[in-house]
């Protein structure tokens, strides 16, 4: 639940999602769910020439199970808040 809550706070920010098949997609985080499925808007593929089929895709749904990384802006993280939340979760879990 911790990362779900964390991503909910990041809705509206620009992120780059790197998938396990090495495809990397940059876009605005539209929504996230309990499985950490991600919906991105205004998407651009990082290496567009390698993935011509993605040219006209502007919004997409990404299944949580295929995500390798979610790259965030450095100021996207309030590390203190995250540390506190993690400690609380560790204590409760």
């Amino acid at each position: 639940m911790l990362f779900f809550s964390y991503f909910k706070d990041l809705v509206g920010r620009e992120v780059t999602v790197e998938l396990k098949n090495d495809l990397a997609i940059r876009g605005t985080l539209h929504s996230v769910d309990q499985y950490l499925n991600i919906k991105l808007e205004n998407t651009r593929v990082v290496d567009q020439d390698k993935y011509p089929h993605m040219l006209s895709v502007r919004n997409c749904f990404i299944r949580g199970s295929v995500v390798r990384y979610v790259q965030l802006p450095a100021d996207g993280v309030d590390t203190d808040l995250l540390h506190d939340a993690t400690r609380r979760e560790a204590r409760g879990g």
């Binding site: 998938l19 098949n21 495809l23 997609i25 539209h30 929504s31 996230v32 769910d33 309990q34 499985y35 499925n37 991600i38 919906k39 998407t43 011509p52 089929h53 993605m54 040219l55 006209s56 895709v57 502007r58 919004n59 997409c60 749904f61 990404i62 299944r63 199970s65 295929v66």
Partner: protein
């Protein structure tokens, strides 16, 4: 994907906003399917109507019609909404027949197999 009220469709990660739209579905095996989303569930199982597979080899491509498809969610990588006002593919790409794309696929596979076998033969040399 939790069930949401009608107004939540605009904010949630549900695939409901993609219903009856033409989509691009990327599968784990690298296939690219296109079709109209007719149904989905919490596992991202998906029903695509008028599905076709877009096979791309280099600058050549071919759309192979498949009909009505049910895709098991575990194979789904990404579901993308195709913007009808934009070109689906770069202009330098040429559409070819399914026979030609199959030949191109075989040629590409033979080239990678050859590269693999050449590498295996060189392995004994043990360059650092």
């Amino acid at each position: 994907m939790s069930w949401a009220g009608p107004e939540d469709i605009f904010l949630s990660t549900s695939l409901a906003s993609y219903l009856d739209k033409k989509l691009l579905v990327l599968l784990r095996d690298g296939r690219k399917l296109m079709g109209i989303l007719r149904s989905f569930d919490q596992f991202a199982n998906v029903v695509l109507e008028s599905a076709s597979e877009r096979v791309i080899v280099g600058d050549l491509y071919c759309d192979i019609p498949l009909g009505l498809y049910v895709i098991r969610g575990e194979n789904v990588v990404l579901i993308g909404e195709l913007d009808l006002e934009r070109e689906e593919l770069p202009p330098h790409m040429t559409r070819v027949s399914s026979e030609e794309i199959k030949r191109a696929q075989k040629a590409e596979k033979d080239a990678t197999d050859l590269k693999g076998s050449m590498r295996k033969r060189m392995e004994f040399l043990d360059f650092d």
